[in-house]
Amino acid sequence: MTDLQSFVLKEKPSRRELLAYLPASEREVHIAVYRNHSFELVEHTIGAYLDFAGLKAVFSYSDYDDSLTFLSLDKKADLLILWLDLGRYKQTDVSVFIGARIVELRKTFKKSVLVVPVGGNVDVEDESVTVADFSSLTATFGADFFDERMEAASGTRVSARALIAISKELGLRYIPACVLPTLKAIVVDLDNTLYQGVLGEDGIDGIVLTEGHRRFQSVLKEKAEAGWFLCVASKNDPRDVENLFAKRTDFPLRKEDFTGFFASWDDKPIAMEKILKMLNIGMDSVLFIDDNPGEIAQMQARFPHVHTLVAEPDGDVTAQALAYYPGMLKIGANAEDALRSADVQANEERERMQTELSQTEYVRSLQIELCFFVDDMHFAPRIAELANKTNQFIFNYKRYTLEEINDLMRNKNSVVVSATLSDKLSESGTIAVCVGIREDETLVLDECFVSCRALGRGIDDILILEMIRVAAETLGVKKLSVRFQKGERNVPAERFVEKFLKNYIDKTNEINFVTDTSLVNLTVRRN
């Protein structure tokens, strides 16, 4: 492992080491802490963990406020942490009280909210709010979770050791989950990563599935089932690898758990190139796991922004490191996540069909079903998720929160149109969104984003232009003006705008684009 990686993921750093750590990350995140007990001791030890996540936090604090009046709320913060000792409340169902206060909070604060309760659990119905789950920590620490000797001086009854554990949970898992895009894909080596041994030397029967590796494979399987792309990049004979998964039925992982299998004698960056192209994602969305630091270094040299983790001889240690790797905690996961891998696997069939048919025949043969939903709050969580993870096909990089999406849907001068896509090969779920605002008699396209796995099926123009048309009809306007912000990675969006929406960039014109909607089965559902 790299030094910092080993420090935060493998070792148990001392309090002094954490206090002395000097963060190097420059990406600042402004975190407001609204609290009824002291958080500063967490702030003092969280630096290394946030640094590993590529973040540097600037904390601001409310007064101590059991009543959660939110009168002294820092509304400019990127994230609000509600740091609550539930032991200070007398009411039996404090969740009801906190839920009611969050409803009030949401009238003025629209960014991400993370509730961090100690001394009990909280249920919050608001899907836009994340509640940290420390049940495993409290089970591990038992009575040692609290230490009331210092409470009068420190302002909190949480013990020193528990405070460090909380720093780790917040710094590596919860804060990155609230402010950064989650990772999308895990690419794993095979030898001495998924099992002990070398396939080419020990043979299929000679490699050992240790208990630690069994648990590591099980964790990866759960990730695949939850919607992560799981791929293999291994320097091995592909026939051996094929036989391995066919014969070793004791492995928790089966070949069908993987979105992609790249076993060859080529260097692994070549496999990664193919994986990124197949998945149509950026390198910074991938975590590469390999036991060989040399392979890790080679991968980083070719793909500097890919995330990496060194697999340890003990599979349990690797599984634990994976659980704490920033970007691996997915908040607000939903059923659409599980569609992702099958959808990408279907792309291979689509590509085959594309080479055999004319463009129009190809599109018709896919039997594409497009459904537009207008201001449908059922899709709001998925829309907020897409807004925060799309980097290539996005017009203005607006990272809407769930609450902002809900507000846009409720407002009669704005509209959110979301699109689901399926074809005869797979269901893609919700893959595109456009957000429009009415200004006088014009639809101002405030944002448009599309999941890259939905592009390239020959209907990009139908998808986006018809969403815009539906948005305009909903707001009762006939003119369009499009906002577009050129960024580092949204070249696909820029090309689309140049080709189809040039007349509307920084201008207002009547909507007059034409698409061939006969190529798809298009339905529009309005609430």
Binding site: S14, R15, R16, L19, R149, M150, A153, A160
Partner: protein, 71 residues
Amino acid sequence: MEQVAEIVACVLKKDVAFVQENLTTENLWNSLTRVEIIMTVEEELDILFTPDEIKKVTTVQALMDIVGEKL
């Protein structure tokens, strides 16, 4: 007591010489910093302060005296 001085220096973000020159200086820290120092000393030296002892840690020398009695 070298280790105690190093811990205090780390928490206060000063060098050890400063700590050694201010062994009896009051108000080097606020209550939260005092807690931070005590938590770090407890962890490294595997000792526990009583609530009364915590209150008495008002100078570096007082801290060293309490630690000395425990070791």
